[in-house]
Homo-oligomer: 321 residues x 2
């Protein structure tokens, strides 16, 4: 099968690999659509030191084993493969499993391929009314909605989201759907416009009016985004950090200690709420799709995704012919 | 009156100043003992850009006006002077008042002097059984106990405190008194020994056994302390930052985002609980007193306080003769 592979020294290339064999408890999934995420691009800059098949956002169909009750089912999949036995798994934190694998990110092949294997326990069925083009956003939408696990938004209106990329827009949409007033600051008028149908008030960063916020979500993946968040956070407020990036951030300890500010890291989220939002069409992520490439043009797709102002780039991984 | 004064360009000198006049709602306090805090030393390195009479830890006696119901009362004083009218004061966060003054730290003269003025609203009476040598620790003990406002410790045993200076020891004592198991990591065997009577398990930092913690309090005021805290924090755990320092900390965003760690700034605390701990002798801070200088030797005292491994240095501010 064809796969987009990250080798040592971060070279990415298309590679013919044998179709993977599901182990006990696992299924074989034929990948339909896959999404390119900012984290995939960070891998190319050395983040995680990952080697293997790239990618973690996908929707697909279970293709084996023949004995599986999932056979033929359209699915999305939790990206963390956990042991179920370590102290963190037993505390109900399987996404933080001490020996976890993460598809396309850590010690396990990802989804930029015709097939992948996953434990059946990681599968979530996709409701029929959710098109592939929406279902492929389940994982990033779940990550966006994890903001609401990291901080209670009740009574903290308006909240500010910094960053108008895919993640920032998904976060702003999801927060707005929770009923609070959301401000979104970014750099691209065309991206900001996508938030307005959700009742989000949008600003170019340079035009953000004075004032502070009790909750700010940093989703720009840039140093300037965290600068803005820390400059605008109210005393005793919470900055949720959603984005990783390769550089170090020069944190002034007094910027946290004196105003007693909280800086809260947030990564993955639960698929259930995200799929409900998609099935009810309370969030329609399809306007984020910027361009779609066949897997055989995966290198072009990665290059395209790194362009300025590009939103979601999809890979169509269905085998041709 | 004599005062230890920080001028522009961070020169510190003894200065004769007129005795301050209490304004409406204020009292005049004759300072008894005052404590030198790490933050006072940071001011000398340019932190805050403060100019004026230094110092914020004190115990004293109300000396005016004659009409005050506080006259003759032994008191400690909340260091933040707030407006009572801004949005943060009205939200119950007067220590974060938008136009606050802070004695010896921000726009208001401090306590390294024979007298200071404070709003009567800032005063807290010292119970008779609390000696001056203990009462002078009310403010730093309140700051230490603010850790328990910043994070719930219930079920998060053991917790780790990093730093065996005054603040780290007060924090370790107060946390241990709350009934949880406390580990303390530091560099000075003699300091660590002061924590053992409270049932704290102590380690030289280099000997801290492997493992992670759900709560870590950074009280070392050093980059290496925060390095240790972030290396040892459990996924979804909380690092409480108690210390400011002049440098920037090179924060790896992934160190917060991937394990979903919380970094919580914490500054001042409530005097009531601290005075109760002192009055019941559940915490006796007097073993922290390293040396005592008269105010007239304030410069020597500041120099002494900067020595390696020095704990609390007190100034006796009672006018001589």
């Amino acid at each position: 099968m064809l796969a987009l592979y990250c080798g040592d020294e971060r070279q990415v290339f298309l590679k013919e690999l044998p179709r993977p064999e599901p182990k006990s408890g696992e299924v074989l999934i034929r990948v339909g659509l896959a999404g390119i995420c900012g984290t995939d691009l960070h891998i190319l800059q050395g983040y995680h030191g990952f080697q293997g098949v790239m990618g973690h956002e996908f929707v697909g169909v279970v293709a084996g084993p023949q004995s599986s009750s999932w056979l033929g089912q359209r699915v999305v999949g939790e990206i963390n493969v956990s042991c179920g036995r370590c102290d963190l798994c037993r505390r109900g934190l399987p996404r933080h499993c001490r020996i976890r694998q993460v598809i396309g990110l850590k010690n396990r092949d990802g989804v930029f391929a015709s097939y992948l294997t996953l434990p059946a326990a990681n599968l979530v069925a996709v409701p029929s009314q959710v098109e592939d083009e929406a279902a492929v956003f389940t994982e990033p939408l779940a990550a966006a909605m994890a903001v609401m696990e990291a901080v209670s938004l009740a009574g903290k209106s308006p909240a500010l989201v910094v960053g108008d990329g895919n993640l920032g827009l998904l976060i702003a949409w999801a927060m707005a759907r929770s009923g609070i007033e959301v401000h979104l600051a970014g750099h691209h008028g065309a991206h900001l416009a996508l938030a307005q149908p959700y009742g989000v008030t949008t600003f170019l960063e340079k035009d953000l009016p004075p004032g502070d916020y009790e909750v700010i979500v940093e989703a720009s993946g840039s140093r300037s985004g965290l600068d803005l968040a820390l400059a605008r956070i109210r005393p005793r407020g919470t900055v949720v950090m959603k984005s990783t990036y390769a550089d170090r951030y020069p944190l002034d300890p007094a910027a946290l200690v004196v105003p007693e500010v909280r800086l809260v890291g947030s990564r993955c989220g639960s698929f259930g709420p995200a799929l409900r939002m998609l099935a009810r069409r309370w969030i329609d992520p399809r306007p984020l799709i910027h361009r779609r490439f066949p897997l055989s043009q995966g290198l072009e797709a990665l290059a395209w995704a790194q362009g300025p102002g590009v939103l979601k780039v999809l890979l169509d991984c269905r085998e041709e012919g």
